[in-house]
Amino acid sequence: MDAFILSHVEQGVMTITLNRPERLNSFNDVMHQQLAECLKQAERDDTIRCLLITGAGRGFCAGQDLNDRNVDPNGPAPDLGMSVERFYNPLVRRLAKLPKPVIAAVNGVAAGAGATLALGCDMVIAARSANFVMAFSKLGLVPDCGGTWLLPRTAGRARAMGLALLGDKMSAEQAQQWGMIWQVVDDAELADTSLTLARHLATQPTYGLGLIKQALLASETHTLDQQLDIERDFQRMAGRSDDYREGVSAFLAKRPPQFSGK
């Protein structure tokens, strides 16, 4: 079977490479299934403490492969909601729920669901030549893979509207200026920079990082009161972690901490 997803685990980092370079790594059903298998491993394996997602070849991901869909203009209307329900929504939910950091290293064009998938990762590093295209509107579609939730929260309402309604190309630098991504680096440095960041995060207090991620995501729908309760609860749990104990001991002993992630 074709390996549309490459993955390997090293030093606590699971690197996932979207691997259909001749189709700009656009998604088909088999690729979705292979990605789901990788995520299952990432969820179950405690030794994996950070996820790094990137694309093979010159693109990051061109979203849904339109060749894979029934697009006969004279045929019956396809049910696009089905692939959203079966593949994209579970993918976004699993990445959001994963109690470890997820980094996107955007090596080239990220279009459609590829763009919203990348922008939805916890930290995004993009190559200077990469760009993001909200291509949906030009086909009469709606940004999926979390796009309509994500864009107003990362870009603000006015910019989200412009991006989503026009569907134009946005450069990596523009995305960084608008605060939508963490960092832009020269193309040649992308692999090193993103791997260094991932390896650093994989040595950090993973349990605590997972709680931070959950708390920040919860804040999107919470009132201040609800969020203060979450902070109390999460701090209570974090305070009981091995890593907190280790962090304090290391600080008092003036030595570097050795976090286990628990």
Binding site: I230, D233, F234, R236, M237
Partner: protein, 255 residues
Amino acid sequence: MSELIVARHERVLLLTLNRPQARNALNNALLEQIASELEKAARDADISACVIFGNDRFFAAGADLNEMAANDMPATLNDIRPRLWARIDAFNKPLIAAVNGYALGAGCELVLLCDTVVAGDNARFGLPEITLGIMPGAGGTQRLIRSVGKALASRMVLTGEAIDVHQAQQAGLVSDVYPAGLTLEYALKLAKTIARHSPLALQAAKQALRQSQEVGLHAGLQQERQLFTLLSATEDRQEGINAFLQKRQPEFKGR
């Protein structure tokens, strides 16, 4: 290891369902143990409330299908289970379900039988009996509709699909939602708060709440007033009011 772990936390009894290999399925033996422990606790003046908990992934994922499959119609007619459920339901002190993970079928019915429900953010509630060609047989169709209303109760019973904890809270099935790692701790805290109050007042209040499901409003109000009057004859009522007026903690004696 026993299938029902019994522990005491001050005046709170904690029952932990412990059949992880069967996802805490409630077979007859386990229901019988729950009933017996609650009956002991009902007689024990040092216990004021009880918490039932499962584990982090399952509260209880249903009844024991092997047991049920063997029962034909005559056997089902004379099944001991309704009597076991009735014994659990007769517990006269506050009963709190602390739910993490799945509470399905009989597990959900046990939750519905409890007075209040504290749940983890990973909790799910459902009555999937319909998918097996049967239906809820221990209060699922009766207690659910009384707490969440007709539309949602019918949807759950007729589709067999579970709801998540937020929907359950919105609908009134769950009183509090917490991170799953803290569910049991917070449920015990709630139980301890309850257990600080007068044991007789707790019993009377529980009885009044239960009766609201049995009789019309007029009769319910009358019964409430009778129970209220009954408490006026207790020493604890005197102590409770005196302590409040004197700005000190009350010391209840259960009489």
